[in-house]
């Protein structure tokens, strides 16, 4: 076993790279690889492969043992032996790993000439290693024995007490993690072991480096190690094939754009979005030849993507008599996947990059177009020929990734409560910078002024939006039956046209990573929620999601909210309080998460805000919907000289200040973005004792204000809003506790918003019932008064069973000191009719 490699070291392969074993490993391995691929030349690398591929040995032995003469045999070698009773490492077939490169298959001859079992080889090697000569796989610094030993130690001893991964749920975190996983394998029977690379890194940095640099060599060694360990522990278990190790999240997760020639043949993890998957491609792993003359059978394995057709029959010595029998050749599944970098990674003004990924065997069809995935695999490059019949090659390479592990990143979002589906990683410097910023006493003001600096003033509105961007803390009360409490803050802006509402919305939409912008005029209920579509190709029903679902965990900006049709608006009811979206359509009944904050802008019905009317009357939105907004702001054009002057100054400076000046004054948009992202993912403030007292007081106060005048001025919904706002304010300070100052600010902002939107124009008092019932308490009182006056009037008229409508109206008007409109009169009549006091038929009023 050790001889070929030691030979090769003495012989020195002709490629200059190998002369220097200490040169960067990537270079060496690449040179090695390209040379083997380009030319089927019996250079030393091919010979040396035998060493590392020894774990494959049991398979080939096995295959030759089993009679596979049935013509129905089609599939991977492992499928042929399905169901054969067997156990132990010898009995379980190894499955070929095309993901590690079929290139690497050693010639059959070597396999037989070697000791058939992997551990024997390893043992002998260890012996020689102890004798002072360190044997490594050609082109690498990997010693099979040490590597295997290290990995076994890793499996046996690694614990991760702080693990947060959901896959580890149900495992005892203080026991060796991977041993438990092996137990799982023996129970479940799925022979795949997923190994987190960062675990290896913390356990043994050197092993990690080897894994990253030489995945082709190291992963089979890992396979070998894990199988030995497994069958030692569970000698009787029966698996479909030998356990395969699938490493994932190689810590140096890369952006697709950052892929470099240095990464070729290394283990990489990149994230992206699947845009296309090909059909299944059967890839030949082993060809079956039969001699036309003597019916002698022979098998040839694919070597570097090629099949060396035997020219002479070994049995009868006839030349060129062998014919390929497709049905009896072995194939493996392969699928081409196109990956595009995710929109967040893209620099502005460039088109996204795409990468080709090949999935093999059971990874085929694991992902669908549209999925966001993290893929771990080996980056490959292959030269392109100009013309297949010539050996002239183009000067560029084709690159692709052989997938080893897929991990869907958006899966969590569908059924999980946590919001770190796509946690942004911040560098330490950045975090320190953000924390420093958070420590400043005026951080709240700073941030709010950094928000949409081109929009002038409206400080409170900006503060409200800022709090909305941070959001409250998500609370789960599902055990007590209340379900999730909404953490998102909804804001409605209403006001005169041309007060830069749309601009504000646009800004917010650009600021948040998962923002959606729709216009009420153009969107239908379907466009907002989700709809079911029949895929024209597959005839399958597909669920297409709309703006609200897409902005899950983000902000949905809805412009021209008032122009929205009623049916469309009605879908918002569920979304804005329950934060879910129910669909029952075309055989699909489901509930989707729509944990989105709504930022809506509405214009007054009469195009100009009428200060004599209430908010409801001005924007004509159902009060059921309005009460779901935490804050309702009016953006009015204040007519005041000082304001005008400041506004003018602001606008003019907008036009003449240079970029740098502006930047000095305000925080960068990127900083703001990061600040928000960081706070949203890391800070989860809770109420402290004082704060809860303050909240209770605030709520009681709010109720009191109204009770003096016989009105209710606060509802539990307002209390919830207050809590959310204080939590958001605590988040702005990066504080894990909600304190009194947070509550103070929440109160102030809430009052400010109420003052603007819920002031009764008739009395000048703040009246929450305008928003909750659509009618102010005074208006209701007034209605009652008119009805009473009318009743009195009728009673004074004595026993007249019927009256003229018009005459009664005139009488009432004459009697009352306040002006009474026809509407009011009608309303009063209706109220009396409800009391069964009278009926109105046409132009006459009858008493009952």
């Amino acid at each position: 076993m050790s001889s070929p490699s030691s030979q090769s070291r003495k012989r020195d392969p002709p490629t200059p790279a190998s002369e220097d074993p200490l040169s960067p490993p990537s270079q060496r391995s690449r040179a090695h690889d390209t040379s083997t691929e380009l030319q089927p030349m019996p250079t030393s690398p091919a010979m040396d492969n035998s060493l590392f591929s020894s774990p494959m040995a049991p398979r080939s032995v096995l295959q030759s043992e089993i009679d596979a003469s049935s013509p129905l045999m089609y599939g991977t070698p492992s499928s042929r032996v399905e169901g054969t009773p067997r156990s132990g490492i010898r009995g379980t077939p190894a499955r070929q790993r095309p993901d590690l490169g079929s290139v690497r298959k050693a010639p059959q001859v070597d396999m037989h000439s070697e000791p058939p079992s992997g551990d024997a080889a390893a043992g002998s090697e260890q012996g020689t290693g102890a004798a002072g000569q360190r044997l490594v796989i050609w082109g690498t610094d990997v010693n099979v024995g040490t590597c295997k030993e290290k990995f076994q130690r890793f499996l046996q001893h690694f614990t991760d007490p702080n693990s947060k991964e959901d896959e580890n749920a149900g495992l005892d975190l203080n026991e060796p993690l991977y041993m438990q996983k092996l137990d799982e394998i023996s129970v479940v029977g799925e022979p795949v072991l997923n190994v987190n690379c960062s675990h290896i890194q913390t356990f043994d940095a050197d092993l990690y480096r080897q894994l990253i640099c030489y995945p082709q060599e190291v992963i089979p060694t890992f396979d070998m190690a894990v199988n030995e360990l497994f069958f030692d522990r569970f000698p009787d278990s029966v698996l479909e094939h030998q356990i395969q190790v699938r490493p994932y999240s190689a810590v140096k997760t890369r952006n697709m754009r950052a892929l470099n020639p240095e990464d070729i043949d290394q283990l990489i993890t990149i994230s992206g979005m699947v845009i296309r998957t090909s059909q299944l491609i059967p890839e030949m792993q082993e060809a079956f030849f039969r001699c036309q003359v003597c019916a002698f059978n022979t098998r040839v394995e694919v070597d570097r993507g090629r099949i060396a057709e035997p020219a002479v029959c070994r049995n009868c010595n006839t030349t060129h008599s062998l014919a390929l029998v497709h049905n009896r050749s072995a194939f493996s599944d392969k699928q081409m996947i196109k990956l595009q970098e995710s929109p967040e990674d893209m620099p502005a003004g460039q088109t996204p990059h795409t990468t080709v990924v090949y999935a093999h065997n059971d990874l085929v069809d694991k992902v669908q177009p549209g999925d966001r995935i993290n893929i771990t695999g080996i980056y490959r490059a292959a030269p392109m020929r100009l013309n297949p019949r010539q050996s002239q090659v183009k000067s560029v390479y084709k690159t692709h990734i052989d997938a080893i592990h897929f991990r869907k990143t958006d899966e969590k979002r569908l059924h999980g409560v946590d919001e770190d589906g796509d946690q942004k990683l911040f560098t330490k410097d950045r975090v320190a910078m953000l924390k420093e910023l958070a420590a400043k006493p005026d951080v709240y003001e700073r941030l709010s002024s950094a928000l949409a600096p081109s929009i002038y003033e409206h400080e409170d509105i900006k503060k409200g939006i800022l709090l909305q961007l941070f959001g409250g803390t998500r609370k789960d009360f599902s055990q007590t039956g209340r379900g999730n409490f909404r953490a998102e803050i909804n804001i409605l802006l209403c006001g005169d046209p041309g007060t830069s509402k749309s601009q504000l919305l646009q800004y917010v939409f650009n600021l948040v990573p998962r923002g959606q912008y729709t216009s009420g005029k153009g969107s239908s209920a379907v466009g907002l929620t989700a709809y079911v579509m029949k895929d024209p190709e597959t005839r399958q029903l597909v669920l297409q999601t709309g703006a609200l679902v897409l902005s899950d965990n983000g902000i949905c900006c809805i412009d021209e909210f008032d122009k929205m049709s009623d049916s469309t608006r009605s879908v918002l009811h569920e979304v804005m309080e329950q934060q879910t979206l129910s669909i029952a359509k075309a055989g699909i009944i489901c509930q989707l998460n729509a944990r989105t904050s709504v930022l809506a802008a509405a214009n007054p019905v009469e195009s100009q805000w009428n200060p004599k009317k209430t908010t409801i009357e001005n924007i004509q939105l159902p009060h059921t919907l309005l009460s779901r907004f935490d804050l309702i702001f009016l953006m009015l054009d204040p007519q005041d000289e000082a304001y005008d002057r400041r506004l003018a100054h602001h606008l003019v400076s907008l036009y003449y200040q240079s970029e740098e000046q502006i930047e000095e004054e305000h925080l960068d948009m990127a900083v703001l973005k990061d600040y928000i992202a960081f706070a949203r993912t890391t800070v989860h403030p809770r109420l402290n004792e004082e704060a809860s007292q303050a909240l209770i007081e605030a709520y009681v106060d709010m109720r009191k204000i109204g009770s003096g005048r016989g009105m209710v001025s606060a509802y539990p919904r307002q209390l919830e809003s207050l809590i959310r706002l204080s939590e958001a304010h605590a988040k702005v300070r990066f504080s894990s506790k909600v304190e009194t100052i947070d509550v103070e600010e929440a109160k102030r902002l809430h009052r400010e918003a109420l003052k603007q939107s819920a002031t009764d124009p008739r009395t000048g008092f703040v009246d929450i019932s305008i928003l909750t019932t659509g009618m102010s308490a005074t208006a209701r009182k007034r209605k009652e008064e008119v009805a009473q006056a009318l009743k009195k009037l009728i009673q004074t008229k004595g026993k007249t069973p019927a009256m003229k409508y018009q005459q009664l109206f005139d009488d009432l008007r004459g009697q009352s000191e306040a002006a009474i409109t026809k509407d009011m009169f009608d309303e009063a009549l209706r109220a009396l009719a409800d009391e069964d006091y009278l009926t109105v038929t046409g132009k006459t009023v009858r008493l009952l």
Binding site: A31, P261, G305, A348, H353, S391
Partner: protein
């Protein structure tokens, strides 16, 4: 020492030479780029380099240095190339180290023994298309107008159906010496944004700084031309071959068609140096304006007279409405000079309402504008066009390319929206999307490209002029109602007469004027700022309704453009007053029209 002709005619020789000299040091690549940069900087050296825009491809020498003025239309994925490779010479049995940079095909024949040290550097390829130039030489004016074919003519599908037979024949003949390039272009879809556009397209391979280029950038690229016929192996041959070599089956047929078009039609260009184009007016030096102080001075001297002439010309074209003419000038020199978060500053979309419906007036108006600006496009907003055209560029994942749309335009293109062509009827989904896209373009100066699974926002800088009968349904910064004072009996004859009356030299002056005025720097002094603020407060005092923040925005833009059009690069008190006056006039004219319409039965 390489002579001048060497570095133009045989740049690869220079590259190889430099590679051989600095065998071991890795910074030879930088040296190469520096060398060519230096060479091009020498007095007028870049003028000697043949231009792919002007010289037909078959007159250019392969592997020579050429320049190409272009717009970046799409970016492909990075490719790795063989930086350095080694080859065996079977006759002498010696090894040679070669450099693979700036080449499409390696030189080695059958004798080749493993690449060593394949240091590969990623390169991005672009398909830039020639941006629309409405004038290059005046003699060509006739053909140019044909190029600017209106969408309404709609003769585009015929070109596609023209069959693939002929180009294939030409393919087999490989060197396209005798084939007329224009003919081939029509049968192979070169994916130009605008229908009916012709002109060379080119795949530019970028080696250094490929991150710095953005979509829709205008560039002048200096690079090595590569037209190796071996590159033009297209679909059919590949299909057969893919069976032979599984590694080449990665691309679909469509993808290959797009990514490896025949080199005779779409030559490859290996970029050595590129400079962004600030403007694409051939009458001005392409470099930044500051370097040409003397040139600037000479133009500024007669600026006032040119402006006056242009105003008269426009007044004639706009049938005697001098106010509209004034606004048209302002519109033509407008430019998005900065963005404050989402707000683009400096855009000035003009809605010219009251255009006569009956005659082809808008067409003539467009012809006039087209003569004056470097690039322009007229979009007839007929129902058919709105419902059937793909305006927003869309990613085609099967072919892995960006399908261009009408709205993929280079900076400072004049987009002429002809709303007079719009009739009553129903807009379908595409139509609504197109209208939304146009609205976004006007309000935010951005286009949301459709990437199927998501949208990507690309900022742009396009001057939009809307000609309509009444007020346009699209938003605009400024609406002016045309009030003709002249009433020529035959509008068409009158307009052509006005156009003919302009001497070419005068038209050239107009062109220079417009480009210069746009590029001027502009500031506002503190003093004027104060005055403007005072003024605003004053105006609000009288009547708050008449002067909103939006009005101030517009007023500031008008003041800016007005100053620039007079060649002043700072706002004066006088200029501010004039701008105000102009606005008052415009508003009264528009309101008058409203009243008039209101009185009509």
């Amino acid at each position: 020492m390489p002579t001048v002709h060497d570095w133009i005619n045989n740049p690869l020789g220079v590259v190889d030479g430099m590679f051989a000299q600095s065998h071991s040091s890795p910074d030879w690549e930088k040296k190469v780029v520096e060398y060519f940069k230096e060479k091009l900087k020498l007095n007028d050296a870049h003028a000697w380099v043949p231009s792919l825009n002007d010289v037909p491809l078959h007159y250019l020498k392969p592997n020579s240095l050429v320049k190409f003025r272009c717009m970046v239309q799409d970016m492909f994925d990075p490719e790795f190339f063989m930086g350095v490779y080694e080859m065996n010479d079977p006759t002498s049995n010696s090894k040679q180290v070669k450099c693979g940079k700036y080449k499409d095909v390696t030189e080695c024949g059958n004798s080749y023994a493993g690449t060593s040290q394949a240091r590969v550097v990623p390169s991005t390829s672009y398909v830039p298309n020639r941006h629309k130039r409405s004038y290059e030489e005046d003699d060509e004016m006739d053909t140019q107008s044909q190029q600017m074919k209106d969408v309404s003519q709609g003769a585009h599908s015929s070109a596609d159906s023209h069959g693939n037979m002929e180009p294939k024949r030409q393919e087999t003949k490989a060197p396209s010496q005798d084939s007329s390039p224009s003919h081939c272009t029509s049968s192979l879809d070169l994916n130009f944004p605008l229908p009916g556009e012709k002109g060379p397209a080119c795949l530019v391979k970028v080696y250094e700084n490929w991150d710095s280029f953005k979509l829709n950038d205008m560039l002048e690229v200096f690079g090595i031309l590569s037209v190796d016929p071996a590159l033009s192996v297209i679909a059919d041959e590949r299909e057969a071959s893919s069976l032979l070599d599984p590694t080449e089956g990665m691309e679909t047929v469509e993808e290959q068609r797009v990514h490896s078009p025949p080199a005779s039609l779409v030559p490859r260009l290996h970029m050595l140096h590129a400079q962004p184009l600030v403007h694409n007016n051939p009458l001005l030096p392409s470099s930044a304006l500051e370097n040409n102080g003397d040139h600037l001075g000479s133009v500024l001297g007669e600026l006032a007279s040119v402006r006056a002439e242009l105003l008269t010309f426009f007044t004639h074209v706009l049938m005697g409405d001098s106010l509209a003419a004034e606004y048209l000038i302002l519109h033509l020199i407008s430019n998005v000079y900065s963005r404050r978060d989402v707000l683009p500053l400096g855009k000035f979309t003009l809605n010219l309402s009251g255009c006569p419906l009956s005659s082809p007036y808008t067409e003539h108006l467009y012809n006039v504008i087209q003569q004056l600006v470097p690039s322009s496009f007229r979009l007839c907003m007929s129902l058919h066009n709105m419902n059937n055209h793909r305006m927003v560029p869309r990613k085609d994942y099967t072919a892995n390319r960006l399908m261009s749309g009408i709205l993929q335009l280079a900076n400072n293109t004049s987009l002429f929206l002809d709303e007079t062509q719009l009739e009553q009827g129903q807009l379908d989904t595409t139509g609504v999307q197109n209208i939304t896209a146009l609205g976004n373009l006007i309000s935010w100066q951005k286009v949301d490209y459709d990437f199927n699974y998501h949208q990507m926002e690309f900022p742009c800088n396009i001057n939009v002029l809307i000609a309509s009968e009444g007020r346009s349904l699209l938003p605009s910064d400024c609406q002016i109602h045309l009030r003709p004072t002249l009433n020529p009996p035959n509008l068409e004859e009158y307009l052509s007469a006005v156009q003919v009356a302009q001497v070419p030299s005068l038209i050239n002056k107009y062109r220079i004027y417009l480009s210069m005025a746009r590029a001027l720097n502009y500031t506002i002094s503190d003093e004027i700022t104060k005055a403007v603020e005072e003024d605003f407060v004053e105006m609000r005092k009288d009547d708050p309704q008449s002067m909103s923040a939006e009005d101030l925005h517009r007023l500031l833009v008008v003041a800016r453009l007005l100053s620039l059009s007079h060649g002043q690069n700072t706002l004066s008190r006088d200029g501010w007053m004039k701008a105000k006056q102009l606005e008052v006039l415009r508003i009264s004219q528009t309101q008058q029209q409203k009243c008039l319409n209101g009185n009509e039965p």
